[in-house]
């Protein structure tokens, strides 16, 4: 390539670069966000995106009317010791998480007494379950309850 051709190419490239740089640098400051806003509005109204980005709805369950419970003493006044595990199914674990809201014990009188409240997922049904547990030989009482947070 001849010297004069190289010089011409250099000048043209430099001019084009300068032009683009100036266009970008001199762009009005409020034009960018406005354009983005307009684009965002258009995107938000697009049916496919609306379907994909529907915000999740959180809901909390009411606790079961009756606690999970075990009484250490029967209606006849005689001790009713464990082992025992009272189970109350709560909700499907597909879209929920459950947590204890009540743990009440009564008659806890011996270091060997064992009572527990638990929430766990039952592998068979896939439901969250609330457990009130009385250990072997424990004649103390326990009441438990729980609520669940579901995502729809």
């Amino acid at each position: 390539m001849a010297m004069w051709q190289q010089a011409l190419v250099t000048v043209v490239v430099a001019a084009a670069t300068s032009f683009v740089t100036l266009r970008v640098a001199n762009q009005p400051t409020n034009e960018g966000p406005a354009a983005v806003d307009a684009l965002a509005t258009q995107l938000a109204a697009h049916p496919a995106l609306k379907a994909s980005f529907t915000p999740p709805v959180l809901s909390i369950s009411t606790p079961p009317e009756e606690d999970a419970w075990l009484d250490g003493m029967g209606a006849d006044g005689k001790p009713r010791p464990g082992p025992a595990d009272d189970v109350k199914p709560l909700v499907s674990s597909d879209n929920a998480v459950c947590f204890l809201t009540e743990v009440d014990v009564k008659g806890f009188s011996d270091a060997g007494d064992q009572l527990a409240c638990r929430v766990s997922i039952d592998e068979f049904t896939g439901f969250w379950e609330l457990h009130a547990v009385q250990g072997d030989g424990t004649d103390a009482s326990v009441r438990c309850n729980a609520q669940c947070l579901s995502i729809q």
């Binding site: 009317e65 009756e66 419970w69 075990l70 009484d71 029967g74 209606a75 464990g82 082992p83 025992a84 595990d85 009272d86 189970v87 199914p89 009440d104 014990v105 009564k106 008659g107 806890f108 009188s109 011996d110 270091a111 007494d113 068979f124 049904t125 896939g126 439901f127 103390a140």
Partner: protein
Amino acid sequence: MKKIYCLLLAFVAAFLPLQAAFAHHNTQAEFGAFDSPTIYIEGKISRVQWGNPHIAIEFVTTGGDLPAGEKWRIASHPVQIQIDHGFAKEDFKEGDIVKMHAWKHVRGIPQVWPRAIQINDGPMRSNMRFADMIDIAKGTFTQMNITAAANLNGSPVVRAGEPYITKLKEMGLVDDKGIMVWPAP
């Protein structure tokens, strides 16, 4: 430290309200009234939990009014009451085929309470003596082809409900102490 914790728990427990317990779960609150309709289910037992406060039997449905292949659980009596109804732990084994008339849980939980259970090719046996009383009073018991609960005779009729108690008295099936007499004298 453990002792202090126990003492603290005992102290807290002393201030908790006492509540008399005359039964465990309120069956009718969870599964509907004893005289409400039942569904018919067939299934295969997956697991038996024979313990207090309630016996639980897991099964996979194979037919009846529920779609096949679903995982459900039988909730039933405490151990002694289950035995009093005429059932033994050995009656239920993994892999057994069960057929039953049962009440579904009112909150849509995959759980049923059997009105009557048939294991493999055995008889359809009652699992609820008070429902027996109701069906006898209604005159539908014989056609249901259910073997009466083993503890039906000699049971207080009070939980059957007033209209049915009146009918049972008219039928001569209640003695002067309010106790069911079965079979009919």
